[in-house]
Symmetry: C2
Subunit: 447 residues, 2 copies
Amino acid sequence: MKGITDRDVESPIAAVELERSAGETIVLHGVIQRIRRLGWGAFIILRRHDGLLQCVMGAEGNESVLDRLVVEQAVEVTGTVKNARIKDSSIHPRTVELQLDSVRVLNSPAEQSPVDMTKKVLDLHIDTNLDLRPLSLRHPVERARLKVAETLASAFRDSLSGMGFTEIHTPKICSAGAEGGANIFRVKYFDREAFLAQSPQFYKQMGVGIFERVFEIGPVFRAEPHQTSRHINEYTSLDLEMGFINGFHDVMAVEISVLRKCLSALREINGYELEMLEAVLPEIPESIPAITLAEAHRIFLDMTGEDCTGEPDLSPEEEKVLCARSMEEWGSEFLFVTHFPTEKRPFYTMDDPEEPGTTLSFDLLLRGLEVTTGGQRIHDWQAQVDKMRAFGLDPDSFQGYLQAHKYGLPPHGGLAIGLERLTARILDVENIRLTTMFPRDVKRLTP
Amino acid sequence: MKGITDRDVESPIAAVELERSAGETIVLHGVIQRIRRLGWGAFIILRRHDGLLQCVMGAEGNESVLDRLVVEQAVEVTGTVKNARIKDSSIHPRTVELQLDSVRVLNSPAEQSPVDMTKKVLDLHIDTNLDLRPLSLRHPVERARLKVAETLASAFRDSLSGMGFTEIHTPKICSAGAEGGANIFRVKYFDREAFLAQSPQFYKQMGVGIFERVFEIGPVFRAEPHQTSRHINEYTSLDLEMGFINGFHDVMAVEISVLRKCLSALREINGYELEMLEAVLPEIPESIPAITLAEAHRIFLDMTGEDCTGEPDLSPEEEKVLCARSMEEWGSEFLFVTHFPTEKRPFYTMDDPEEPGTTLSFDLLLRGLEVTTGGQRIHDWQAQVDKMRAFGLDPDSFQGYLQAHKYGLPPHGGLAIGLERLTARILDVENIRLTTMFPRDVKRLTP
């Protein structure tokens, strides 16, 4: 028997700690991201968990060490922290550098990486970037987008936890799809057929009956055959559902509150990444404008002469034009569009009793793209059964789900934010594939 | 155009705030969990997001209101907070109750729930409990287990974030399985076949190359045909992977540190739930004992006369006996077992150069059940390719994964904790299905 203790568990020194350590001699780990050899020695840029550290090593007496160093080696270095003023925005921290005494190689690559890390921005074709994802993500700009997504998800969670929401985990293998339609993946589940969850919709509504307010951060799966820059087939959905609402505006208000916290968390935590990414964060005004779909179509008609009135949804072109108009007219890069027609929204959406044929539903647009859908749901059992029938669905196929309604459910509503879309719009990245680690699309299943 | 603001966003009053509000008149929402009518009036127990609130209403002048109240109604109540001393451990807070002035019904159930909420513990057959899950989870004891699981996941996340780990989201639809074997679900992915992730193993190792330390909390899928109390086919995996380890003991040490934080978070946050569940939390001693698989078999032989030496794994019976022995001998309900044989661990596991045929791998047992598997991974490309071949695998099928090794990867290791198993052992719940919202097993795909 051997006793294992956690007495010596250590965390890697954070960049902010390094900034306060001038004059100290330290030992730390990293991977050689770049190396620049000069007559007097070399600059060695170490990739670390939260930044790139500039290290300096004089040639004298270190010739053989320096000769052996190559990019992507895992090393342990010993050196003294010195004050510095570094301009390169990929470096973090920039107020100090490490004057190296020694370098110990822990592991060397079998071959040199095909991805050139010396470029400020990777100028790879997107397919190459994604084919080489385990390597391209080692570039500071590429991985920075994931850190931004991490903060957004984390701020979503923290702000909701602070508002009495419970975090839930719901099944991804299901017997029916929540969103309907053909865009659903089929799984062979032992001797039967099952489906991959298109959203946690049914489960979060059941969750309202249990915990009043619930949220989930997890994968959802959409078998959409589109190959566009704004679709991936597996994405991370930030879902919430809340009971005891007075109307769907309550859900929109909570979203505004959550987004404020997301943006302030980014400002607080990700200064390094945002500067390197040259990101200009959107501002959330005192209030976010909301227009109905009918109004949206009219504005688009006025502005472009193109008539979409009567269309059940917004076209990608309308989303762009309306966002530009929202910024111009109301000073908001965010824009709510409400009252989508009954036939365009799923069967659980509540109709607006005051505007028959439309629903108490909304989309949130940001910088030309829908990043959220939400609305009030039907909580009355009979109303839900009736709407299912009107949609040609058999209520018997939804017995588990309808238990929640039949035996009592508070008025409620919720929303879903696509994490990758939100990240892409906040960072102004054209293709959402670049905001996720390993995207899945019609053509891509690897790496 | 309408402006939506978050000015009036409110959180439901928390139980701890109610405890400090004696004398105040408040308005709040809830669902009637139980109602007990007496000559002088009624006790109305309201289910709220974080507890059950006892409300009291006198009969005089309220006869018609009280007559209309039924269980599972969503209500808004107005009343005065009064000091109280309540013994029922399902109630929270217990130091105050609400003296009601009025009750407004927001929604009534279509039928009365088949689940009797007046019982202290639901005595339903497990199949009935699971068939009626949207309702049975409304029982305070049933939902309390989910709150415990929520805290465990959250403490896992917070402790790792504090140690320089990055939270990642990796694809669940994959082109190959990480754990090998037949236990893999197949998905029809457009015109090809794909698989559901058995673990985020490949991706978290690639993540080490990117962020040095990564973790993920997400669903994993195992097509195991076993119908036992400790297997479900979709579960929540708490995964971590860390670079720059000196050996697999570093991973075990991090696990101890994380588990300490999990248990102290439970003590801090879930006093109400733990008392109601009559949970006795395990203590983590100064050090957790670690024995090799060979030692484990010998101890089992000594204790029971049953000879499992030579077996490549522990039997469920051995897990139980060894945990009892660990408590007796070393005062630890936790027990590490190490050095599983090469053929029993996946191809990415590093062999122990000092004990050929065995691996630098471990399981963590708690109260008779394996709750974690982990170990050191192969980081050298050639070594990994060789081991794949020795396992009869074609390295060409793992090209994306092997990019990480080929172009450089630090020494690393990691582990995976099954959230449901951990919760079940901590709460001493026999069937892990009861620690998750909507379990999936060979027979169960609904609700």
